[in-house]
Assembly symmetry: D2
Homo-oligomer: 337 residues x 4
C-alpha cells in the first residue's frame, strides 16, 4: 500500500508511520516529492487495517495497490471457472439461460412455465418459493410447498432448478430441493447468510446488490469462496441510479469488468433490471453481445395474472422468439447457447 502524507506532515509524523508499519512486518520505501512525502509499504496487508494507518497523525490518504479479493480474482486463477452440474456447464464459452416465473404460484402455472422454458431450449427453471418483498402485505411465496413443486417439475422435465434462499435456517431445505441456490440483491451483503452458504456443496447464484460496486460484489463472492464454496455464478440485475424510467439501470459494462477482474461466470437478469417486458428482449440480446455467460429471464404463461412482476414477464411465445435471436448473436461472439 502507499501512504500519502499531508502537505505539512512533520518528520516525526513520518517516522511514527514508518515505525508502526515496520512493527507489523512491512518494508518501507520513502519518496519525498516537492509537496508531499509518499511512503510505500510492502508486506502482508492483512497484518494491519487500512483504516488504522489512515487514522495515524499526518496521514492524508492511503492508496491500496492490490485488489481486496484474492480467490475471486484473476491473479489467483487465470483461466475462466466452469461450473458443472451433471453434464451441464456454465462458463468458458457455454452460456445458460435460467427462466421461469418470478414466484411459484401454483402447480399449473409452474408446469406451463417449465414446459415453455424447456421447449425454447433452456436448461434451468427459475421460480421463487421464498419471496423477499418490499411490503409486508405482499405475497411472500408458497415456501416449502413451492420448493416441492419445483422439485417435481424438475423430475418431470429434466430441467435443473434455481431458487432463492432468504434465511440461514432454511438453507438445508432449499439445497435439498434445488440445484443452484440464489442469493437475492438485497441479501448480497448479508454476510451471515453468505458464510453459511459457503459450507454447502451446491453452486450459488449471487445477485449484485442494488448499490454494490463491482468490488463489493466480488468481495461477497470472496465470502463464499473463503468458506470453501468455489462454485459462484455472478448475476447483474440492475443498479440504482437517478433514472426512473426503468426500474433500475442495467449495467452491462459489468460483464467486461468482471471478466477482467475475475474468473467467475457472470450472467444478466434483464427482467428485474428494466421492470418492463418490452425492454427484456433488446437487453437480453445486448447482454449476449457483450459476452455474458448466461441470462436469467422471467417467463409466465399469463403475465396479467401473475402474483408478482407481471409487467416484466415474457410470454412463452416471446421467450421462444428471443431464444432464437440469442443463439444467432451467441454465434457471432463464439459462444454456445
Amino acid at each position: 500500500m502507499i501512504i500519502v502524507m499531508n502537505h505539512g506532515a512533520t518528520t516525526h509524523e513520518v517516522e511514527m508511520v514508518c515505525q508502526r508499519l515496520q512493527k507489523e512486518g512491512f518494508s518501507i520505501h520513502m519518496s519525498e516529492g516537492v509537496e508531499r512525502t509518499i511512503i510505500g509499504a510492502i508486506g502482508d496487508k492483512s497484518r494491519i487495517s487500512l483504516s488504522t494507518v489512515e487514522s495515524l497523525p499526518g496521514v492524508e490518504k492511503i492508496v491500496p495497490i492490490l485488489q481486496p479479493f484474492k480467490l475471486a480474482g484473476r491473479d489467483f486463477r487465470q483461466e475462466d471457472t466452469i461450473i458443472r452440474i451433471g453434464d451441464v456447464e456454465i462458463g468458458g464459452g457455454q452460456m445458460q439461460v435460467f427462466a421461469g416465473p418470478c414466484a411459484v404460484e401454483s402447480w399449473e402455472q409452474l408446469m406451463e412455465s417449465a414446459e415453455a422454458v424447456k421447449a425454447a431450449g433452456a436448461r434451468f427453471l427459475r421460480g421463487g418459493a421464498y419471496k423477499p418483498r418490499s411490503s409486508p402485505y405482499s405475497f411472500q411465496g408458497l415456501e416449502e410447498a413451492g420448493l416441492k413443486m419445483l422439485a417435481r417439475a424438475r423430475e418431470l422435465t429434466g430441467l435443473l432448478v434455481v431458487t432463492e434462499v432468504i434465511d440461514p435456517g432454511s438453507i438445508e431445505r432449499v439445497a435439498y430441493y434445488s440445484d443452484v441456490l440464489q442469493v437475492g440483491a438485497r441479501n448480497m451483503q448479508n454476510f451471515f447468510l453468505l458464510r453459511e452458504l459457503s459450507k454447502i456443496n451446491k453452486p450459488i447464484l449471487l445477485k449484485r446488490g442494488l448499490s454494490a460496486t463491482i468490488e463489493e460484489w466480488l468481495m461477497a463472492a470472496e465470502y463464499l469462496m473463503a468458506g470453501g464454496n468455489y462454485d459462484v455464478i455472478l448475476c447483474e440485475r440492475g443498479i440504482r441510479t437517478f433514472e426512473t424510467y426503468t426500474r433500475n439501470t442495467l449495467d452491462l459494462s459489468a460483464i467486461p469488468a468482471v471478466k477482467q477482474l475475475s474468473h467467475l461466470p457472470v450472467i444478466i437478469d434483464p427482467s428485474h433490471a428494466t421492470g418492463k417486458w418490452q425492454m427484456v428482449r433488446p437487453m437480453a440480446r445486448a447482454a449476449v453481445a457483450a459476452g455474458c455467460d448466461g441470462l436469467m429471464i422471467e417467463v409466465h404463461p399469463n403475465p396479467t395474472e401473475a402474483l408478482c412482476d407481471g409487467p416484466q414477464s415474457l410470454t412463452p411465445e416471446n421467450f421462444g422468439a428471443l431464444m432464437n435471436e440469442l443463439r444467432a448473436i451467441a454465434e457471432v461472439v463464439h459462444k454456445k447457447l
Copy 2:
C-alpha cells in the same frame, strides 16, 4: 389508485381494466381527456397488486395515491411516537445520543469508551459484538464475549446498551444482553430478520440502507410494526451517491422528510456517513439544527489503535466538546438533550 391508459388504448381495453377492478371490489371514476383516458379506482388496494394492473393490455402507467406504509405513517398516527426505556425517552422533544466504539475490542477499550460517553452526558453506549464487514478477512467481532462486556459495562455505568444483530438465530441472545437492537444498513431489507425482530419486545434501531429510498426505509419499519413491534427508531447513516470525497452522502433532509411522512423518531449517524472524524462534529451539529431526535456517534479512547473505523472515531475530548455544542443548538430548536 389512478390508471393512465395508452394514447391509442381501445374501448375494449378500457372496459377490460374496469371490469377487472370492479371484480376486485373497486369503484370506478372515468375521466376522458383529449389524449388519454384516466381511470380512478377507489377501494382496498391490497385486493390486487399494482403490477397486475400495470400488465393489463392498454395500460400506460399506474399512479398510486396513498403511501404504501400504514402503521409507520402520519395518517395512522398524528402525534410523534415517544419510545421509553425505563425513565429514558426518545422522541417528542427529547433527544438521545448513542455513543461508543465501532466494535467491542477489549474490556479496557470498552470501559474507557463507556466512561467517556457517560462523562459527556450521553445515556446510551453503542458497540458492535457481531460486525458485518465487507471483507471475510477483517475482524468480525468478539460475538457473545462482546455482548457480555457490554452488559457488564451497563451494570457499572448505568448506560443503556445498543448493539447490532445480524442473524435471526442470535436475536434472543442479543436481546438478552442489550436494551436496543440495531439492524445495520446492509440488512435493512433482510425481511426475514425484520420479521423475526417484529416478535420481540425491545426497541429496534433501524438503519437506512445505502441506497434505500425514504419510502423503502419506512416499509422496512412497517415490517417490524406489522409484526407487533411498534418501537422503531429510524437512523440515517449516509446514502450512496457519485461523490467519493466522503464515504457516503449524509442525507439530512431525511429528517424533515421523515417527520412529515411518519411519527417515528429519527436519529443521525454522522460517523459512518462521512468516514472522517473531522466531519463528524459539523454534521452532528447540523443534524440537531435540522430537528433530529438523536445521534449515533463513534467514540474511541485511542482511534489510531481501533480495530475498525478509527478514522471516523472521536476522542473522548472531542466528543465532550461536541456535546456542549449540541446542547446549545438543541436549545435553539426547543429540544432537550
Copy 3:
C-alpha cells in the same frame, strides 16, 4: 393533470384549487376517495405551471399525465425520424458509425485516423476542435485550425464530419466546416446554446448529460425542435453513478426507452462511457444488439501518444475488427450498417 389533496384538506381548499383551475380554462373531474380527494384537470397544461398548482394550500402532489415534450414524442410522430445528409441516412433501419480521434491534434494524426475510419467502412469522421476539459490547464483544442483540417479531410476522403460546438458565438463557424454539430454532455442543458442551434439547418448530435434523465434529454431535444431544427440525433455516452470501475455507466436501456418515447434516432458512445478501450468493443456490440441507430467511437492511430482520451481509443486494427462484428450483429436485428 391530477391533483391529490392532503389527507386533511378542507372543502374550502378543494374549492379554491378548482376555481383556480377553472379560471385557467380547465374542466374538472372530482373523485372523493376514503382518504384523499383527487381532482382531475383537463385542459391546456401550458396555461398554468405545475409548481403554481403544487403550492396552493391543501395540495399534496401533482401527477402530470402527459409527457412534457411534444415534438420529440411518439404521440406527435409515430414513424421513426430518418435524418438525411446528401445520400447518407441515419435512423429507420440504417445505422451509422461516427469515428475518429477525441481531438484533432495535427494533420497527420487526423488523416491517419480518417483513412482508418474510411477503410473500416464508416461514413462519418469525428474529431474535436474545441475541447471542453475539466481542467483549465489541459489541451483545449486547435480551434479554427482544427476545423479547417476536418474540412480538408472531408474533401480528401469523402467522409462527413461531426464536431463539437461549445459557444453560441462560434456556431456559424463550426457549421461552415462540418456536417453535423455536436452538443457535449456538459452543455446538454446549456439552453442558450440550444436555442441558437435551433435556428441553423444542420443536424445536431445531442449528447445526454451525465446526470440527465431520459425526460430531460428529450426536453433538450425539444428546445432544438421548438426552434425549428428537427434533425436531432440523440447520443447516450454514460451516466454518472456510484460505480467507479468504469468512468461512467453506459445506460443501454436508454435505447429501447427512447425508441418507445420518441421517434428520434439514438446512437451510443461506448468510448466516453467506459473510458477503457478494452470495454469499447463488447459495449459497441451490445449497443447494436439492443437496437441503436449508430455508434460514436474514438479511433487514434497511436493511442499512447494521444493528447486526450488515449486509454479509450481503439487502434485502426481493433476498429476494423469491431466493424466486422457489428455488421454480423446488425444483420440479426435487421439493420443495415
Copy 4:
C-alpha cells in the same frame, strides 16, 4: 504521481514507462512489491497527461498524489478568502444571506420581496432575469427589463444584487446591473462561459452542478481563478441521487469538505435542493450549524402566484422567523450574521 504496473508487466514495459517519464523531466522512484511494480514519478505533472501514461503498455492504473486544482486549494492559500463588495464581506467568519424571488416577475413582486429581505436583515437581493428552464415552453425571464428592475431595487433599498448569467454575450450587460454574477448548476461546466467570466472584476457565485464531484466543482472555480478572477463564492444546491422525495439531495457535508480542500467561501441553497418550502427552514439551520459562509433562499410575497418555484419559496413572515433562528445558531458556531 504513482504508476501501478500490471501483475504480469514485463521488464521492458516498466523500462518504457520510466523512459517516457524521464523524457518529460520526471525523476523516478521504483518499488518492486511481490505482486506489482510501482513507479513513483516526481516532477511537473502538467508536462504529460495522466491519460497518456495510463495508455502505455503494462500500466494498470495511475494514482495522482496532488489535487488537480492549484489556486483554489488550501495548499496555495492557507487562510480563508474574504470577498469584499464595498463594506460587505463574505467569508472568514462573516455570513451573508442572498434572498429574493426565483425570477423577477414584475416591479411590484420584486419590491415586495426586496423589502421583506431587507426587513429581515439580509444584505443581498437575488432574482433571475434570465432563467434556464428545462422546458422551452416555460417562462424564460424578463431579460434586460428584469435586470433594470433589480438595479432600481438596489438603488431604493441599498441591497446588493446577485443574478444569473447564462450566455457569454450578455456578461457585460449583467455585470453592469448587478454586484455578483451567478453561474447556474447546469452551466457549472460551461467552460467557455467560465473563461469569459474569469476576465471580469465582479465576484462570481458558482453553483455546484447536479452531478459534479467536489473536485470538479473546485476545478470550475479554478477556471475562473486561472483567468484572473479570484472572487469566487461556491454554492451547494443539492446533488442528484436516487432519492425522489426531495427534488435533489442537499449535500451539507460539502461544507466541511470544501473548508478542508479550499480557502473559498461556500454557501448553501436549501430552496433548490429540497424544492419544498417546509424543508427550507430546517435545512437552512443545519447549513449554518455545519459552518457555511452564507445562504441563498427563495422568498416570494405570494408563493402561490409565483411564475416559478412557488412551492419552495418562503413567505416574508417565514423568512423573518428563519433569520432569527439562524442568528442564534450562528452564535453557537462563532460566526456573524
